[in-house]
C-alpha cells in the first residue's frame, strides 16, 4: 500500500534523506555533544542577558496606536476571510484560500516570522485585537464600571494552550479530511468562541499569555529572536536568550512536548512503520464495529497522543536523572525550569518537517490571494502564477540536517546555562546533572534525523 501524501494542499512531497546523510548528521550530533561537555563555560551567558534599545523613532512608529490598530485590523480581516472563504468558497482544498492560509502561512509561516522578528503574532492576533476593541467599547459604555476579570487560576497554567495545540494538530493529522475548507472554517469558528469565553472570564491579556494556544506557541518560538519589546520600546537581545525569561507554569512541559510530539507523529505517519502499526490499529478498531474512516481517525488519534506522551515521558526521564543528584528541588519545578531549552529542538522538528511546505506551497498564496474562493476571480492579476520549485532535494536535505544539528547545539547551550543558574551554589552538580538531559536530547535529535530518513522511503 502507498501512503497518502499528508496534505491535499501540498503539490509535492519530500524525498527521504540518504543513509549517508543520516549517519553523518548523527556523527556530527555526537561529536558536538561530546566537545560541548568539555568546553562548557563557567558563568551564565544568558541570565541576565543584555538588552539594548533600538532607535527611538522606529520604536515610536512600531508601537504607535495607528500601527497597532492596522496590524490588529489586518489579523481580523484575515480571520474573517478564512471563515468566509472556507464556508462560501469552492470546496476543493487546493483552490480555496482557507486550508493553505491556515496550515501553511499561519501555522508554519508565523513560526518563521516569530524567529526572525520576535513576537509579531501578538500584534496580528485577531482574537486579542477583537477582545481589546470590545473591552474598550465596554469600558466606554459602562463609564469605567466594567467588573474586573476573574483572577487566572494558577492551576490552569498553560493547560488550555497545550490542549488547544493538540486539538489543532488533531484537526490536521487525525481527521481524515483535514483540508476540507468548510471543516477548517468551522474549527476556526469554534476556536474563536472558546477564545472569547476565555478572554471574557480572565481578561484579554491573561488569556492571551497562557490560554490562547497560538499565542503561547508563537511566543515560545519568538524567544529565539533578537528583538524584544520592553515597555513599548523595541530593543535587541542575544539570540536564544529570551527563552530564559519564560514564566514557568503548570502545563508548560506539556506545551513543549506537544510541539515536538505532534510533528514527530506527522513524520512517523509517512513511514512504513506507521503503515503497519496504524493499519493494525485500524483493523482492531474496525473489528470493534467502527467504520473504516472512524477507525482510521481513532488510530491516528492514538498515534498522536502516544507520540506526545512519549516525548513527555522521555523529558521527564531526563529530569529523573537530574533528581539523582538533586534531592532538594521537586522534579516538577526542575521540569519547568529546564523545558525552555527544548524549544530549539522543537524548532528543528518543525523546520525540517515543514520547510518545503512553506517554501513551495506558501507560494500558492500568490494565486489564492487573487482568487480566494476558487471561483475564477483575479483580484490582483496573479491568479495564473505557478509555484517555482527553486530548491532541489539535495539543498533541502542539507538545510534539514543543519537545522537539526543547530537546534541540538542551541538546546545544549541553554540547558547548560540554566544549570549554571540553578546550581550556582553547587558548582559540582552543573555538568553531572545535565548528562541524562544530554542523552535525552541526543535521542530527540537522532530521532528527528531518523524520521527524515524513513519518511516516504
Amino acid at each position: 500500500m502507498t501512503l497518502p501524501i499528508a496534505h491535499g494542499i501540498a503539490q509535492r512531497a519530500d524525498l527521504p534523506i540518504t543513509l549517508g546523510l543520516f549517519l553523518f548528521g548523527s556523527v556530527v550530533v555526537l561529536v558536538v555533544s561530546f566537545v560541548a561537555l568539555a568546553v562548557l563555560w563557567r558563568r551564565p551567558l544568558f541570565e541576565p542577558y543584555p538588552w539594548r534599545p533600538l532607535s527611538g523613532f522606529l520604536s515610536r512608529v512600531l508601537s504607535s496606536r495607528p500601527v497597532e490598530i492596522l496590524c490588529g485590523a489586518t489579523g481580523v480581516a484575515l480571520l474573517g476571510l478564512v471563515i468566509y472563504a472556507g464556508l462560501k468558497g469552492q470546496q476543493t482544498a487546493a483552490a480555496n484560500f482557507t486550508p493553505t492560509f491556515v496550515y501553511v502561512i499561519f501555522w508554519v509561516g508565523m513560526v518563521a516570522a516569530s524567529i526572525l522578528f520576535g513576537d509579531v503574532y501578538r500584534a496580528f492576533n485577531p482574537w486579542r485585537a477583537i477582545g481589546r476593541a470590545v473591552a474598550f467599547v465596554a469600558r466606554l459604555a459602562t463609564r469605567g464600571e466594567l467588573p474586573p476579570p476573574l483572577a487566572y487560576p494558577r492551576r490552569l497554567g498553560y493547560w488550555p494552550a497545550a490542549t488547544g495545540l493538540v486539538a489543532f494538530t488533531a484537526l490536521e493529522l487525525v481527521n481524515s479530511t483535514p483540508d476540507d475548507p468548510s471543516t477548517v472554517a468551522i474549527a476556526t469558528l469554534v476556536y474563536s468562541v472558546l477564545t472569547f469565553i476565555g478572554m471574557a472570564l480572565y481578561g484579554v491579556d491573561a488569556w492571551t499569555t497562557r490560554g490562547e494556544a497560538f499565542s503561547v506557541y508563537f511566543n515560545l518560538f519568538s524567544r529565539l529572536a533578537i528583538f524584544e519589546t520592553r515597555e513599548g520600546v523595541l530593543g535587541l537581545r542575544p539570540p536564544l536568550a529570551g527563552l530564559t525569561r519564560i514564566q514557568p507554569g503548570s502545563g508548560l512541559v506539556l506545551v513543549v512536548a506537544a510541539m515536538i510530539g505532534t510533528v514527530s507523529f506527522d513524520g512517523l505517519s509517512e513511514t512504513g512503520l506507521w503503515v503497519d502499526i496504524g493499519g493494525a490499529l485500524g483493523d482492531l478498531f474496525g473489528s470493534l464495529g467502527l467504520s473504516s474512516e472512524t477507525a482510521f481517525e481513532v488510530s491516528n488519534a492514538v498515534g498522536l497522543v502516544a507520540m506526545v506522551a512519549l516525548v513527555f515521558a522521555l523529558y521527564r526521564l531526563g529530569i529523573a536523572g537530574m533528581k539523582i543528584l538533586d534531592e532538594r528541588r521537586p522534579a516538577g519545578q526542575l521540569a519547568d525550569w529546564f523545558v525552555p531549552s527544548l524549544v530549539p529542538i522543537a524548532l528543528a522538528y518543525v523546520g525540517a518537517h515543514y520547510l518545503t511546505l512553506l517554501a513551495f506551497q506558501g507560494q500558492a498564496m500568490t494565486y489564492l490571494a487573487s482568487d480566494p474562493l476558487g471561483e475564477g476571480a483575479d483580484l490582483f492579476g496573479t491568479a495564473e502564477v505557478g509555484i517555482s520549485y527553486f530548491m532541489g532535494a539535495r539543498l533541502i536535505q542539507w538545510l534539514w540536517v543543519a537545522l537539526v544539528v543547530g537546534g541540538h547545539v542551541a538546546a545544549l547551550a541553554l540547558a547548560h546555562d540554566r544549570a549554571l543558574v540553578v546550581y550556582r551554589d553547587e558548582q559540582d552538580k552543573v555538568v553531572p546533572s545535565q548528562l541524562w538531559m544530554l542523552a535525552v536530547m541526543i535521542l530527540f535529535t537522532i530521532s528527528a534525523l531518523l524520521l527524515l530518513l524513513s519518511s516516504n522511503a
Binding site: 497518502p4 491535499g8 512531497a13 546523510l21 520549485y389
Partner: protein, 141 residues
Amino acid sequence: MSRNQRLGLIAAAVVVLVVAFVLIRPGEQEDPAPPKFKTTQPETQTAEAKPGPPPVPVVDMRDGKPAGGAKTFEFRPGDSARIDVRSNQPAEIHLHGYDIEKSVQPGKTTTVRFRADIDGIFELEDHDSDQELARIRVNPR
C-alpha cells in the same frame, strides 16, 4: 581543562568530522535502484540485445479508481517521462507539481509527457474526486 587542551579537543573533533565526511560521503546519492521507467537504456543497446522499447508505465482506471491500487513510478532527473492512462469512463487527470491536466476518454490511451526536472514525490490524481491514481517519484540529481 586548560586552554590548550580545549583547543586540542576541538581540533580532534574537527578531524573526526572530516574523516567521517570522507568515509560516509553524505553528499553522494546512494547507488539508486535502477529506475523502473526510463526512456533511454544505453546499456541494453548492444548488438545482441534487440533495443526493445522501454516499458511505459500504465495507469488503468476502473470506475475512477486505479486498477491494482496507486503505484509509484520512479524517474531519473532529466528523463523525458511518459505515463499512459486508460479508463473505462471519462475523467480529468492532474499531475501535481508539474501541473499537467489531461482529459481521458474511454477506449483511448492518454499520454502524459513531461521532463522530469523537479525532484520530489508528486501525485497523479483524478481531478474531480481527488482520487490518487499513481505517484511519480523523481530522484535528485
